[in-house]
């Protein structure tokens, strides 16, 4: 399958890239790793007239802890995340997620920024970043601004980015002591989208859940935090009974639709099981 025709642009920095986006006003798409965009272009589900390739834009690939957060450059690949010691030791939820994104070959090119900016409710990073209460940095012609992740996903494939803005950085609050997190996904086979997945990050103090962030993958029209499930965790003891009750809430709070990955009822059952296991694993990791 051959993608539609387009003009190809290779800006040398973010400013040039944003200027091109503004100039082509809705006719241009950003090309990062291309692992979602190129398949969509081959199916002609996307037919941008202009592609702006960020591969020659320097300084967008890094993973570093600074100023109270973990900063991840938007062009950091999933493979880089997967093999990073800070991620493995201090942000296990991100390691859980990268391990189950697509397959190892795709992860060599796929970028974290692309996974978010694509705003596909079937992608794995949105739920993880919602659970972690991350921020994203958007850079446009007139400078950059910080967008809380809760305000980023507006609809299926629709984000809060302005037409001339590029997602350049992801900021995750530094893990406090007593934090445990996990991401558990059920997929039919390696490389498939989730039947369902649950992301959780919690802070446990003296055996009580002090804070909780929960979100789910591919069981809602767009990525959104599960506030009822969070309320079912916060202030309660970190015990199996709490986790079972909160998992039941999650299975009711999600909004799956039946498709070739299973009917709605099955997906709710999958979420219940994954949520219970994810909550237990996160609590275990909090110790």
């Amino acid at each position: 399958m051959i993608p539609g025709k387009f003009e190809y642009h290779v800006p040398a920095d973010v400013g040039q890239a944003a200027a091109l986006l503004r100039h082509y006003d809705g006719e241009a798409k950003i090309l990062a790793g291309g692992q979602s965009l190129i398949p969509m272009m081959r199916f002609r589900l996307a037919q941008p007239e202009h592609l702006i390739d960020l591969s020659k834009v320097p300084g967008l690939s890094y993973i570093e802890e600074r100023d109270g957060h973990l900063a991840i450059g938007a062009l950091t690949t999933e493979s880089e995340l997967e093999h990073n010691a800070t991620i493995r030791d201090r942000y296990p939820i991100l390691k859980d997620a990268t391990d189950v994104i697509a397959d190892p070959l795709v992860r060599n090119l796929a970028t974290v920024g692309g996974n978010i900016a694509h705003a596909d409710p079937a992608n794995d990073h949105p739920a993880v970043l919602l659970a972690l209460r991350a921020d994203v940095v958007a850079t446009g012609v007139d400078g950059h601004r910080v967008i809380p992740i809760d305000e980023f996903f507006l609809d299926t494939f629709v984000t809060g980015l302005e037409p001339d803005e590029i997602l350049t950085e992801i900021r995750i609050p530094t893990a406090k002591s007593g934090t445990g997190s996990a991401y558990l996904k059920l997929e039919r086979k390696v490389g498939d989208y989730a039947i369902g997945a649950v992301a959780v990050s919690m802070v446990v103090r003296d055996g009580v859940i002090a804070e909780a962030g929960v979100a789910m993958t591919n069981v809602s029209p767009y990525p959104v935090r599960a506030v009822q499930t969070e309320a079912a965790l916060v202030g309660r003891p970190a015990t199996a009974a709490t986790f079972a009750a909160a998992a039941e809430t999650a299975s009711q709070e999600c909004e799956p639709s039946g498709d070739n990955r299973g009917p709605e009822e099955y997906k709710r059952a999958v979420i219940r099981t994954l949520a219970e296991r994810a909550f237990s694993l996160a609590a275990e990791r909090a110790n």
Binding site: M1, I2, P3, G4, K5, F6, E7, Y8, L31, G34, Q35, I38, P39, M41, R42, L51, D53, S55, S79, A102, D103, P104, L105, V106, N108, L109, V190, G191
Partner: protein, 167 residues
Amino acid sequence: MSKVPVSMTINGETYSGDVEPRMLLVHFIREVAGLTGTHIGCDTTSCGACTIQLDGMPIKSCTMFAVQANGHSLKTVEGLATGAEMHPIQEGFMVNHGLQCGYCTPGMMMTSLALLAENPNPSELEIRTAISGNLCRCTGYVNIVRSIQYAADKMREPELAAAGQGD
């Protein structure tokens, strides 16, 4: 829409051409460079038959535009052998019957090459994880894993001999 000049090194040789930006890298490799060892299987970024190495990293060449590879160094299955001498990975696939129809084999071998460069002595699980983006419709995975293990052992022979563990 204008064509774009591209130039890249494949298996040590330079290949250049003016291409449409929408040309996929796998089409450049097969049709411009004439290296048809790299296969097109699913065309949906699923099967890995088109796996090549981009600067030493295995990627699916059906999911990259040729223009993105401009200035980069690629390796395809044709770059494995040295003259008439097979690479240990090729030998492994031959000795262990690691191919049935052979369609997935170039991709399997290019992924294996990257795995063994990074991890010379992988466990079976590590091998199976590494090739999880390469599909074999003949389902001949048992012998594919054996082939990679054979190559790992053979490639480590000089090192083991030097350490006095070889025989």
